[in-house]
């Protein structure tokens, strides 16, 4: 590791920021040394991204001071940040899909009112960057046709192209396979060795520990600790992030499997444009087991969940859910699936799991609103619904325990707990769960995973789809890997490790 220089590339002093009644950042101060990799960790909502958005000029701080290379600066817009040599790779890529790599590269740095000259110069510069940093991308490829890893490379190239000396990455590995992540970390080391200052925002401790020189921990909008990476470990950081001891391992009983509750045979799904989204999917989920579906986001997992939940009919193949046969000619709707005992916690909470403007109590009965005791003679029974919701909130530790509060006012973790409570409360025979802990803080993650295991132990057949490999590894009894709409591998939980799964997720066919 290279020797840390003492002078600061960035210094933040007493940064404060509120959005309405939410106090997102409270008096945060930190220093980032020049030519180092600094990690910023914290739970969702800890204020990491907000703090970096302030540094990049996307938001203005209510109070506090920003110093770049020792000089106080004003960051009124990203233009200022770019002018001070700061570049940011956002969690959601800021790329125009329909543009080529080159067009994306020069957007905002075109080098003149006409494009021709700027494009030619950028082509030369891109070749140089590709050589110097090992970041090869086809300049004429359309961004929409690139893999996620390549798109991220374009984002990094954009920043370097603008001559940035300070690179901020916001959750860069959220969408990558383990192999792509390793590649990214290598690139970051190379950048540091060439004098670029890197700030890495993440909640993945493995990355922090493997690549950073220093870690800054945020909790509830405050900087709560700063550690040399060499002098800390995952347990220490997790405890600092959450503010109490955290247990990563789930104690699970061995599975006691019963009859097959959900079976799919050669399921396929072809969309209107003829794109094959699901291809020859066969799987079984038995009572008392958790089947995990691993894969990089966008490889057919979402579509599989939709088909299994009865939201979209398959175009080929068949499935059987709790005794009901479903195929293209005999579709089923989600309400009937629910009647059969198939519960579904959708992966997109805010679009499919709840209506943000509805009250928590209304969310707690969505999909079951026609049933007793919530509804008599076409009229809703508000007090009964409220009482039911209060009861669910108590059992699933949803905070605050206010059935009359709008769903959108709950944190991601509490929304998820409420949806999970709704679906699990009726002791379903089959439970389909998409991304159970996406955007959920560590405390709630623990709780949700335990509940899923408890429901398995109670004899429910559970299918979990997650892009978090670590989650699949800790929950599943059996792991299926999806790639390009197919199931490319199956591994028993005991025999699975991150490397082999990662290779399968990247499409390298394994045994």
């Amino acid at each position: 590791m290279q020797e840390l220089t003492a002078d600061a590339a960035i210094e933040l002093r007493g940064i404060d920021k509120s959005f309405g009644s939410v106090h997102a950042v409270r008096g945060a101060s930190l220093r980032v040394e020049r030519g180092s990799i600094t990690g910023i960790v914290g739970e969702n909502g800890a204020g990491k991204s907000t703090l970096m958005s302030i540094l990049y000029g996307l938001h203005r701080a209510d109070a506090g001071e920003i110093l770049v290379e020792g000089r106080p600066v004003q960051m009124a817009s990203p233009r200022d940040a770019i002018g001070h040599g700061i570049g940011m790779v956002h969690q959601h890529f800021m790329l125009v899909d329909s543009f080529t790599v080159l067009e994306n590269l020069i957007l905002g740095a075109e080098g003149g009112p006409l494009l021709a000259g700027g494009l030619a110069a950028a082509r030369t510069e891109l070749a140089r960057l590709a050589r110097d940093y090992g970041l090869a991308v086809d300049p004429d490829a359309r961004v929409a046709d690139l893999s996620v890893g390549e798109q991220q490379r374009v984002e990094i190239l954009k920043v370097l192209f603008r001559g940035a000396r300070i690179l901020i990455l916001d959750e860069p590995s959220a969408v990558l396979t383990p192999q792509e992540t390793d590649r990214l970390l290598e690139i970051l080391r190379l950048l540091r060795d060439r004098g670029v200052t890197v700030v890495l925002i993440t909640h993945k401790l493995r990355e922090i520990l493997s690549v950073t020189d220093k870690v800054i921990v945020m909790r509830r909008g405050e900087v709560v600790a700063e550690r040399r990476t060499a002098q800390t470990d995952a347990e220490d950081l997790a405890e600092l992030m959450v503010g109490r001891k955290v247990r990563f391992d789930l104690d699970k009983e061995p599975t006691r499997q019963g009859e097959t509750r959900l079976a799919a045979r050669h399921l396929s799904l072809v969309d209107r444009r003829g794109v094959r989204l699901l291809d020859d999917i066969s799987l079984d989920v038995k009572a008392g087991e958790i089947v995990g579906i691993a894969g990089v986001s966008g490889n057919g997992q979402s579509e599989l969940l939709q088909v299994l939940a009865g939201i979209r009919p398959p175009t080929g193949g068949e499935m059987e859910a709790c005794g009901r046969r479903v195929d293209a000619a005999h579709p089923v709707d989600p309400a009937e699936m629910r009647d059969l005992g198939v519960a579904h916690v959708p992966e997109d909470r805010l679009r499919q799991g709840l209506v943000p403007a509805f009250l928590a109590s209304e969310t707690s009965i969505l999909g079951y609103q026609d049933r007793e005791p919530f509804c008599h003679n076409y009229l809703m029974d508000g007090p009964a619904v409220g009482k039911y919701c209060a009861d669910l909130m108590e059992r699933f530790d949803v905070r605050p325990r206010t059935p009359g509060l709008r769903s959108s006012n709950f944190s991601g973790g509490n929304q998820q707990k409420l949806i999970l409570a709704r679906e699990m409360a009726r002791n379903p025979k089959v439970l389909l769960v998409g991304q159970p802990t996406r955007g959920v803080d560590i405390g709630a993650i623990e709780f949700i995973r335990r509940e899923l295991v408890r429901s398995r132990d109670a004899g429910c057949a559970v299918l979990v789809v997650s892009v978090e490999l670590e989650e699949i590894l800790s929950l599943a009894d059996r792991i299926l890997v999806m790639f390009g709409g197919r199931i490319v591998g199956e591994v028993a939980a005991g025999e699975a490790d991150e490397r082999t799964l990662g290779l399968m997720m990247a499409g390298a066919r394994a045994a």
């Binding site: 899909d97 543009f99 957007l107 905002g108 009112p113 006409l114």
Partner: protein
């Protein structure tokens, strides 16, 4: 033989005459929509411009003053649309419809108050109109040439300039534009202003070039047809131009067919013929256009994420 040739040439000239306001409007709308601002208010801008062009030309005796007034009037409405949709992030369709209603009402009210002819302006003649340059019969006034030039110009600006690149980007991923250090609002305002300029010319063409004065509701849905042409053209200038010509041709044929007895059918009702462009619009919009080609951010007000 010669008669047939004359007929073809006359029909083509008529096509161009009818298509001119559509082309100007469509190119203007294209700039606005490329930037992510849907412009249902093309119709209203054109109508308002047509009224002010004729009114000013009639009062000053100068066609050029009329053109200036037309542009000014359309730009005021463009700014209003921008203020509602860009600055205040209002609903773009609602704002556009409001502008249409405003123009429809205001032109009649002002026309009646100023000229007292039931919403019409006094007939224009001589220098009060834009007259044909080379071929008096064809009606090739300067705005026809402006419309023809606006197509390669729009293509060049959108495809070959920095402004065009940013325009395309802001209609797709405004956040990426903001993150690149470019002002989303200023970019969109400029697009909306270009739209106002071209819609203003289209309006002036209607009342002081093609016709000799303003009559109430004289745009008769041409702003919407221009909008349809943008969609048929999949938000690209040259195909949109083609769509405008197709509408123009249909209209020209319709005019020619009036009163003509077709073999086996008899005389085709005028109303049916006049409805053809609108029916074609409906038919094409309903069936033939995929939804994937529109600028992704069109119609979505831009708000910074938290």
């Amino acid at each position: 033989m010669e008669e047939a040739l004359t007929l073809v040439v006359a029909t083509l000239a008529a096509t161009l005459r009818v298509a001119t306001p559509l082309v100007l409007c469509a190119m203007g709308g294209l700039f606005s929509e490329k930037s992510g601002i849907i412009d249902v208010g093309l119709e209203g801008k054109m109508l308002m411009a047509a009224f002010f062009a004729a009114a000013t030309a009639s009062l000053t005796g100068s066609a050029w003053a009329g053109v200036g007034a037309a542009i000014l009037a359309a730009e005021m409405l463009a700014l209003l649309h921008g203020f509602a949709c860009i600055t205040h992030r209002g609903n773009q369709v609602v704002s556009g419809i409001a502008i249409n209603i405003l123009a429809m009402g205001l032109t009649v009210v002002l026309g009646t108050a100023w000229f007292g002819r039931g919403g019409q302006t006094p007939p224009l003649a001589g220098t009060e109109r834009l007259n044909p340059i080379f071929f008096p019969v064809a009606g090739d006034n300067i705005l026809v040439y402006a419309a023809l030039l606006s197509v390669p110009f729009a293509w060049w600006v959108i495809e070959r300039t920095r402004f065009g690149l940013r325009l395309r980007a802001v209609g797709e991923v405004p956040l990426a534009v903001e993150a690149a250090g470019i002002s989303v609002s200023w970019l969109r305002y400029r697009a909306v202003l270009i739209c106002g300029l071209l819609a203003g010319l289209a309006g002036a063409y209607l009342s002081i070039a093609q016709n000799a004065g303003f009559s109430r509701d004289m745009t008769a849905g041409q702003g919407f047809i221009a909008l349809a042409a943008i969609i048929f053209g999949r938000w690209r200038p040259v195909p949109a131009f083609g769509a405008c010509l197709a509408f123009g041709l249909l209209d020209a044929i319709a005019i020619r067919l009036q009163g003509v007895k077709l073999p086996g059918v008899g005389e085709v009702p005028v109303q049916l013929i006049q409805a053809l462009p609108y029916l074609l619009t409906l038919f094409l919009l309903a069936g033939f256009i995929g939804r994937t080609v529109a600028p992704k951010a069109a119609g979505v007000p831009y708000e910074k994420e938290h």
